[in-house]
Symmetry: C2
Subunit: 203 residues, 2 copies
DNA sequence: GACATTTTGTACCGCTCGGTTACGAAAGCT
DNA sequence: AGCTTTCGTAACCGAGCGGTACAAAATGTC
């Protein structure tokens, strides 16, 4: 592959990881199909032949960029869920979601959703890759809640799988909202509402 | 416009409303940019010149199709919210969402989201139209909850705007989930979880 | 029945885009 | 100097969108 660093020949004029992040931003903003090769190469600061020589194709470029995005996203999810109680874990997850979806250092919303929920039949694989990423996140949440269920750390009568799905769905809805301009504060206010579902007794 | 029925000349071989519904399904399944003119005309059962003569452009076709979709969607939302209490209204809204998003007579998920959250710069208007439709739905929910707040029909300390946003975000997340294959039963199980946020005292 | 009007089907054009390759120049190592 | 690799420019192909020309077909009107 192109991961090893060849010591011979003309060296690369760009950092592979850095241009992947630039590519991710373009996909994030315009979606897979809405991201033109011209926009991609322009944002990445490289020419088309360099892109094809390095990444192979638009689809492979997307997968590499998305994989990188997933790394940091997954790290954030795990960090948020690393709280002593289910309530604290869910709250941290939702609050960090709301913050991340409205951060200023990258496009609004979430690449897993902006990337392309619906695609032309030729690009159906893109939707599948994105859906798999979201499902993996949900699995991580569910695992945390499964532990909470074993520890008796969930309100009585709560199905932990349904709760994980609820939390993920809410986060996805926040992503949709954030992409259309809903503010961080407004999202956090809705987190407050959502957390009531986790309180066993009244507020 | 093309809405009046001319009594002279060769009559139309297709029903305008019917082909709009077919077009909506294609946009729903593949998104605006992923829907090729060939796929559209093929599904609509008409030829390209007929499409352009009747609807003007791909964008205008989408707006007409989306407007029709919105009509029935809005009617469903209003019908669901027409319940005596805020709790019953929200429950009906979420349950009918979960059902509608997984119905068998049309694509999975929701056109407002599948249509194109992110688009190329040329098609930015599409994303805006879709976002406006979602915002209109949220406004309807908020209006219902605003009434509930005036009637003292909400749990104490709940911001009705944040609650409306919470409900809409959850419904949007359900749409994302449904489009990637989550079953109706699984969505309804998460509705059960969400409704806990509306119960003032313990379960 | 002749005529005007409108739609239909087929074909075509211009343009852009995605995907890809060719080729010579440039930059490094041995 | 020679080898290797990358860079930048340029071009090519097929497909899609947008739009149109033209003749055939179908209807109402005179």
């Amino acid at each position: 592959m192109s991961t090893e660093t060849p010591t011979i020949g003309r060296p690369r004029a760009f950092d592979e990881e850095a241009v992947l992040d630039r590519a991710a931003e373009v996909f994030w903003r315009h979606g897979y199909e809405g991201a033109s090769m011209t926009a991609l190469t322009s944002a990445m600061g490289i020419n088309r032949p360099s892109l094809y020589a390095t990444f192979g194709s638009k689809e492979q470029l997307f997968e590499r960029a998305f994989a990188r995005y997933r790394e940091t996203q997954l790290a954030n999810v795990r960090a948020a869920l690393d709280r002593p109680t289910a309530y604290a874990a869910i709250e941290a997850f939702l609050r960090s979601s709301a913050d991340g979806l409205t951060a200023g250092d990258h496009p609004l919303g979430c690449l897993s959703i902006q990337g392309g929920l619906a695609c032309s039949p030729e690009n159906a694989r893109i939707s599948e890759v994105l859906a798999a990423g979201r499902a993996a996140n949900e699995a991580v949440v569910e695992e945390r809640l499964s532990r909470a269920a074993r520890e008796g750390d969930l309100p009585p009568g709560v199905d932990h799988r349904a709760l994980a799905r609820f939390v993920m769905a809410l986060s996805e809805g926040f992503a949709v909202h954030a992409a259309s301009g809903t503010s961080r504060e407004d999202l956090q206010a809705s987190v407050n509402v959502a957390l009531r579902a986790l309180v066993p007794s009244q507020s």
